[in-house]
Symmetry: C2
Subunit: 374 residues, 2 copies
């Protein structure tokens, strides 16, 4: 359950733009404003807020960069769009706040203390609670409860902050309502994606390939790809119809991205993707690869060691071979290709409505994914 | 940690109004709209949503009724205010959505499966997960994790829904911004109140009387009293200055209410307040009563059995006697009186700015609290 955190800036930020400095400035402005509103609350909460700010600052800003790059490209020819750059920057930063809220709640639900090898927000709070006796293995349950509760509350604070940004933007009310519709859609998809993820892991929901596919789209694709692209479209003054079409591109792009993530974790070289080899198999992650395999006669051999926390390298390699034999590896490649092709078709379909820079930019993003090896 | 759920309609709904029917209609409209937007998500999530709707329908609508009653009274003379009745109804229902979101997250954090003797949302989900083997004592940890995760996600959905209502109301943007400021203030206070509550219970925050008092105000008073009263003031077209004054009244009223709740649980007749006798002492709740006692020489005798899950009636009565001897009981009564007096002064101060019906209504609310015995 990694919410696309393995995205790298090279892979997804539109080429030719560097918005980092202004994104950081706007992020700092948001922090200052939130800190100020929380200044009366006593030292404990302010320390918690500072820990959250530190954690948030470590993000790679993939979503804000995608939003701003797309918006800039879409508005090279329109005056309306250019005038909306300040608003685009605010919404861009809000997508990062939303991402952080989702990550923290995800970590609460999964009981994770680390993200990409470093203590996450919850891990930091846990360590601060008792620095002398900090242990990430079997921490004091009361301390862990405190840290997780901090995670729920700080996540809520950032969900609220995201909504405040969308609700307050200086636009005519109909445009603001379109942004709020998009945020509503994004929240619903993402929450239900997480709901399916937890349900599949805990067997509250029967695992099958369609549910696994739906989960990937809802949990990651919508807020990571569809949200920034559609927000850019709204702010650039595109029609609702074109906004929807751009959204479809985002959904395909994001689904392809998430499926690739699963593919590379299972079949890629661990040295390249940077995760533990076989961690998805060890954790019993219900990917579409597993969803496919479940319906084949090889499943009875695979399930013996699937979701086995003690999985050895040899057993992992055996499962990998079985996943190739049963056709799941080929199916996964085909599905990724299908989504990338669908993307290209949707982009081509928009050629008459968008300027050629946007078309080039979107194609470049598909090509980046197509060539992704880690 | 009961978020004021012991409020009864008699105690707090402004007398002379019955808004229940229109509140239920608007609540149903909100449910339908949310259901429709979630209709594509598969049966498991829709079942979860229906469970949430059922739980939400059981509320006593104290906050919406207070908001609508106050708004109606404030607008008997103004055309603007009357025109805003539809908006007031939407915001009123949003306060109920917010209340539900807070209750569910509170129950997740406390690990509670019941509220007022009935299975709460989490308890319902847990029971649905495995109806044949349902046990509320030592439930299957994986099932409990599923139910709690549902709680986090459904809480988030209702937090988002609350913000959407505030962000979309059909008002001039400056009035909408005032409502959004109020929501921001409410969210921050309530989250920090819960943060302090968990911190005090788990000893992550040093218990003292000021923190306990702050916790009561932030966690309950703001969203239960200040929010409905200030929202009514904004919608009735009151100036920002008068809105702030009405907010101060709400904060005093809410703090008095919460302190009374703590007082009655500890010193009242269990038969009247309907809670287990001594449950606050058994659970180690850091009330202002305990905060006061901590600073006295009787504390060493009290703490022996404070926060003892096996507390007997005799031990409970001993603690109660010690709390009287050390002056905590008297202190508690004085503090409640102080807040009610402060309320009356603040109301009197507004006499020239508000019509006499509003003044009467606010005084009536103070009198109701003053005469409260359960």
């Amino acid at each position: 359950m990694d919410n696309g955190m393995t995205l790298t800036t090279e892979q997804l930020a539109p080429p030719g733009f560097d918005f980092n400095e202004e994104i950081y400035l706007e992020l700092n402005r948001t922090f200052s404003s939130l800190s100020k509103r929380c200044s009366s609350y006593g030292p404990e909460f302010r320390a918690c807020l500072d820990t959250a700010f530190q954690a948030l600052r470590g993000g790679k800003l993939v979503r804000p960069r995608m939003l701003l790059g797309t918006h800039r490209t879409m508005t090279t020819e329109t005056a309306t769009g250019a005038a909306n750059h300040e608003v685009a920057l605010q919404i861009a930063v809000a997508t990062e706040l939303l991402h952080f809220a989702f990550l923290v709640h995800d970590d609460v639900i999964d009981g994770d203390l680390y993200r990409r090898g470093k203590l996450n927000f919850i891990g930091q709070i846990l360590k601060q609670r008792d620095p002398d006796n900090f242990s990430d293995r079997g921490p004091d349950p009361e301390h862990l409860h405190w840290a997780s509760s901090n995670g729920i509350l700080i996540g809520n604070l950032f969900l609220a902050a995201t909504h405040q940004v969308f609700a307050r933007v200086d636009l005519p009310h109909p445009a603001r309502l379109r942004l709020l519709d998009l945020l509503d859609h994004t929240m619903n998809d993402s929450l239900v994606g997480e709901f399916l993820d937890v349900g599949l892991s805990s067997r509250a929901i029967t695992p099958d390939i369609n549910t696994a596919l739906e989960m990937s789209r809802l949990k990651t694709a919508t807020y990571t790809f569809e949200l920034p692209l559609r927000a850019a479209a709204i702010l650039a003054g595109l029609s609702e119809e074109d906004e929807q079409k751009v959204g479809v591109i985002g959904a395909h792009l994001g689904t392809a991205y998430q499926l690739q993530d699963d593919y590379l974790s299972t079949f890629g070289e661990a040295a390249e993707h940077g995760k533990d080899a076989f961690s998805d198999l060890r954790e019993g992650k219900e990917t579409t690869i597993i969803g496919f395999a479940r319906a084949t006669r090889h499943w009875k051999d695979i399930e013996v060691n699937f979701n086995n926390a003690e999985l050895t390298t040899t057993q992992g390699e055996q499962i990998r071979d079985l996943l190739i034999q049963c056709g799941a590896e080929e199916y996964s490649r085909d599905t990724i290709r299908h989504h990338l092709d669908a993307c290209r078709l949707s982009i081509a379909d928009l050629r008459t409505n968008l300027n050629h820079e946007v078309i080039d930019l979107l194609f470049a993003q598909v090509d980046q994914l197509d060539n992704r090896r880690s």
